[in-house]
Amino acid sequence: MAERVERLTNLLALLLETSEPLSLVEIAGELRGQYPEKESARRGAFERDKAALREMGVPIEQEVVVGGPYAGSTKYWIDRARYELDDLRLEPDEMRALQVAVAATRTGSDLGQEAMWKLGSGVIDREPAVVATMPSLPGLPLLRDAIARRATVEFVYRDVDRTVEPYGLLLRDGFWYLVGFDHTRGERRTFRVDRIEGRITMGDGEQFEHPDGLNLRTVLPDDPKMLGPDGDTAEAIVRVDAVRAPAVVRELGAERLVDTNPNGDVDVRVPCANREAFRSWVLGLMEHAEVRSPADVRADIVEWLEREAAG
């Protein structure tokens, strides 16, 4: 039997060349000796090939025959116009810029490079001076399709079945977030894509309208310490040692600096609506930071440390 890559190439060529849809019997007849004789084995091998081609992005069309001696059997073909990539007419500098963008982002897969090859570009020979790693998650392409097609998606999140109108995807702090309207909760929600459990299914397109002027970056507070109950703008005063003061002031912004002591220590105002995130932030500074007020926030930290110290 021929090598599988040869059979796949021949199948692809046949479906592209055929002037009319072909059944599996006809396909096996054309590709003589390449598919197993036995019907169930032949069907299995063909289904694997079809899935492999579709996975690559080959749009294999199919239809079920109505009436006649072959009624009920499925026929296959490829529409060449849907198969071929449009000529994007990219200028050399545009091609180069896209290639640099692909080289500058590491996703752990070669797919960006595969795409550039299709567009007719080579590989970048020089190591770029600036790169960003981006997590690659299986659900992302489907979610993007659903956003573009305005199709509702369903998935499980925190053990709850959700039906969501997806508005957008945002990569921040190394995580992909999905912003959308959660029908299950009846309000707009944000989901960490890597925490979606199991499969995501997509419904029909054009099911909803995207909200006007939605800015993904402002929907999601960029500081987790602010992610408290709605409207909670609680703040704490934290004293930070001179050694960590410059970095903390840079992180929080100069407007949060309350006081600078002669020895270089600073007092800063820090959002603490989300107590968990606040505690984690303060303790990350170890013995270089101390919560001064309010008293209950300070007591919360002391109690946490006492428990940890007692082991």
Partner: protein, 322 residues
């Protein structure tokens, strides 16, 4: 570059991008084909010979007119595979996301060729993502960067030596060093630079938000052939000590934030056992203090006391003050 095994799908995918490119040129040195498509010459030759044997009755062997002679590939006029296959949704996503991210990198010009290229791409991909709403609707990348990033990236492009004051987390002190930046990168929400540290003349990784001051020395560094570590991988050095932790569900951020060797199956209460590289004792004690009773050190015993000792030290500060 040798691979153990290349699957049929991978070989066909590569052929479908290689063939249109070869057809346009007619004849190309084998070495050039190999370099462009990141294959060995042997792999290119094997794949092209194989595709030359493809064909449908009665034209077996005649699908693609292709042969290799004295290191040059010759391709005749084909009927098929003259245009590349369209992008599939995963490739399209990767390309759009890469473009979006590149726009966020220091030195990007939104009005430049990248912006124009992405607009053409989005239009070709069609649907709402293209024509109607303009590129990037519904897909955004936010790589907020520390102040020092642009200057360090610029120094990396020009191999400029910098004098920096750097706060080292593992030693908890600020020191002055002279470095030649090689590559700036963003990983898991933080920005880093891989640079030659001229105290030891070795490559080291620094976090950009811990650079407290920087100034050019006026000197240029030497180019280096030393391979740069993959971003985010310097941590996975096999020589680093390891710690095994038992983590509660609320401590899951640890395995999402830091590199891990392996994570076990959750037990009935959702706790998992995970093994992680330990960048320094100082790093681990900070993680343990933040985790509190949501984590236990399983082994080694030497590290089990770290969290407790660190908590006592911080507590002392609160007691002194009150």
């Amino acid at each position: 570059m040798s691979r153990v095994h290349r699957g049929a799908e991978e070989r066909l995918r590569r052929l479908l991008v290689m063939l249109p490119w070869l057809m346009e040129r007619g004849e190309v040195p084998l070495a050039e084909v190999a370099e462009r498509f990141r294959l060995t010459e042997g792999e290119v030759a094997a794949d092209l010979e194989l595709v030359a044997m493809c064909g449908l009755p009665p034209f077996v062997d005649e699908l693609i007119d292709i042969f290799i002679d004295e290191g040059t590939v010759f391709v005749g006029v084909p009927r098929l595979f003259t245009r590349p296959l369209r992008l599939n949704s995963t490739e399209a996503f990767e390309l759009l996301a890469a473009g979006r991210a590149a726009m966020e990198l220091p030195g990007a010009d939104p009005a430049g060729p990248l912006g124009r290229g992405l607009a053409k791409l989005a239009a070709a991909l069609g649907g709402d993502a293209g024509a109607d709403s303009g590129f990037g609707e519904g897909l955004d990348v936010d790589l907020e960067r520390p102040e020092a990033t642009d200057r360090v990236a610029d120094a990396a492009r020009r191999l400029e030596r910098l004098r920096i004051t750097y706060w080292s987390a593992s030693r908890d002190e600020s020191t002055e060093r002279v470095i030649t930046p090689r590559q700036v990168y963003a990983d898991r929400g933080n920005w880093y630079v891989t640079a030659t540290d001229h105290r030891t003349e070795t490559l080291r990784t620094f976090r950009l938000d811990r650079i407290e001051s920087l100034e050019p020395t006026g000197e240029l560094g030497e180019p280096t052939d030393e391979p740069l570590p993959e971003p985010g991988q310097w941590f996975l050095d096999g020589g680093m000590p390891r710690v095994t932790l038992r983590l509660a569900p609320a401590a899951r951020w640890v395995i999402e934030t830091y590199p891990v060797d392996d994570v076990g199956e959750p037990d009935d209460d959702g706790w998992v056992i995970a093994r992680l590289p330990v960048a320094s004792d100082r790093w681990l004690e900070r993680v343990l203090v933040r985790l509190g009773d949501r984590a236990e050190v399983v082994e080694p015993a030497r590290l089990a006391e770290l969290g407790r000792a660190a908590a006592s030290r911080i507590l002392a500060r609160y007691r002194d003050a009150s």
